[in-house]
Symmetry: C2
Subunit: 288 residues, 2 copies
């Protein structure tokens, strides 16, 4: 069985061909411009490569309600041209194979639970910290959806008392994304995070916000593994700081070895590395 995968991102669409074992055989990266231009290239890639199913992990918000007339749409995105775009519908016009569709981060969570850091577990959480903060989750063996899909990047956090930064989220100001995504780091310190690698203050503050989010995710979803990827997490010094702050904030309330003894194996980078998103889309296709 050959599977097709599309990681539909705000700056690029990564398309790939892979196997049921999660092996990526071929991949291509297409810039995200207008839907017409981008989709033309996506369709061009797949039309010469036969697949049995297609998985699409997309930037959002997206409509995942199969009963909705706008199922498969990218909905109220501020991204010009893509607002109310029928992504699944356009793909269905060209390809007659089953198409799986979810958020990019739910797809990545699924991929990690099938082939990656949470392999064999029926619950995990995948967070990406980059130009935004997105989070997907598997709970009881299923991707979490409800009224809509999760939007966990926007949860409320407590401002650090020595942090005067107002926050960069256009909706909430100082929510998690507004305080801890890449653009927030740059706006707060006047320099991109990658150039601040050696400044411990920067990463201690970053860990302070990320750990608050993890504490709430743990108390609400109780994931069996927490996986954090994205550009900001390339600063690997963040991992020990985030782990330490998470344990400190929970203060012994959750009695589990994952937190008390083996936190180094509980809060981890993606097992699939930079392939988490594309493999996630493959996993959506595999599940069809």
């Amino acid at each position: 069985m050959r599977l097709g995968a599309i990681e539909a991102g705000g700056t690029k669409f990564v398309c790939g061909i892979g196997t049921e074992q999660g092996e990526v055989i071929e991949r291509i990266s297409i810039p995200t411009t207008t839907p017409e231009e981008t989709l033309e290239q996506v369709i061009g890639f797949f039309k010469t490569r036969e697949v049995d199913a297609l998985g699409v992990g997309s930037f959002g918000p997206v409509d995942l309600d199969h009963a909705s007339p706008t199922y498969g749409y990218i909905t109220s995105t501020p991204k010009r041209h893509w607002n109310s775009f029928n992504l699944v519908g356009e793909l269905k016009k060209r390809f007659s194979v089953p198409i799986g569709f979810d958020t990019d981060v739910n797809a990545a969570a699924l991929g990690e639970s099938v082939w990656g850091a949470a392999k064999g577990l029926d619950s995990c959480l995948y967070m990406t910290v980059g130009t935004g903060i997105g989070v997907g989750a598997v709970s009881e063996g299923k991707l979490v959806h409800g009224m809509l899909h999760p939007e966990m990047g926007h949860i409320l956090v407590r401002r650090h008392e020595e942090d005067p930064f107002r926050g960069s989220c256009p909706f909430h100001g100082d929510c998690l994304e507004g305080m801890a995504a890449g653009p927030a780091i740059e706006a707060r310190w006047g320099t991109k995070g990658v150039e601040l690698a050696g400044d411990s203050k920067v990463w201690e503050l970053e860990a302070y916000y990320l750990a608050q989010a993890l504490v709430n995710y743990i108390l609400i979803l109780s994931p069996k593994k927490i996986i954090i990827g994205g550009g900001v997490m390339k600063q690997e010094q963040l991992f020990p700081l985030v782990r330490e702050q998470t344990v400190k904030l929970l203060n012994g309330y959750i009695q589990h070895d994952n937190l008390l003894k083996t936190i180094d194996q509980y809060i981890v980078p993606p097992g699939l590395g930079d392939n988490a998103g594309l493999c996630g889309a493959l996993a959506l296709a595999k599940g069809l």
Copy 2:
């Protein structure tokens, strides 16, 4: 089919007999003293009343991992005598019927989704605000568990800038439970909440904390219905305040009619009223 239900609480065990339709035929309330005394009365009630299955919704923390040697135990509770008590094991010694076991609030969430305010929905959240704050959830048709069960009453909230109260949670100080459970209200104002019914400051502050929690639950789990019960919520003036604050904090980010148009039907009291807990235990039995 006759079902048995036990709502195992820290101050009382409510036992009942009911039907698959969620009708409670008979009930009894037993004070929670020592496990020996309390269980003797529980067993006495059920031994003269034949049931086909038994559901137990218990105060926690509890061990719900079927693979664990302490499955069915109440674990690290500060409640004297009940720490590491094998509740399901003791019941199994006396009754040979299948026994369903979960947290009291997960049971209530299930009961509400089967017969109550969330009837017919595959996702909902049940929060009780009383001597503590407990929350259970159904997501994708299943009760949420993972590493452990959720402990959502302890999520982090932002202190109101005019609230000097330090918080009453022995683990976290000013977490949600520490700021908004009944004992926190009493400690902050020097009087029980029930005697402060007419003081709008009290309930605006209470709604400020509860709404923060709901915002995070919505962003993380996206429940299709939010049900709030417990002693503190007998102050019905809280509901409109909580709804208003929730909408204000989300600030239009979640585009759904539940929030934008019909919030009065989205954040609601238990459909099963004070029977939510007992009916929840019945629902656990029904699911076996």
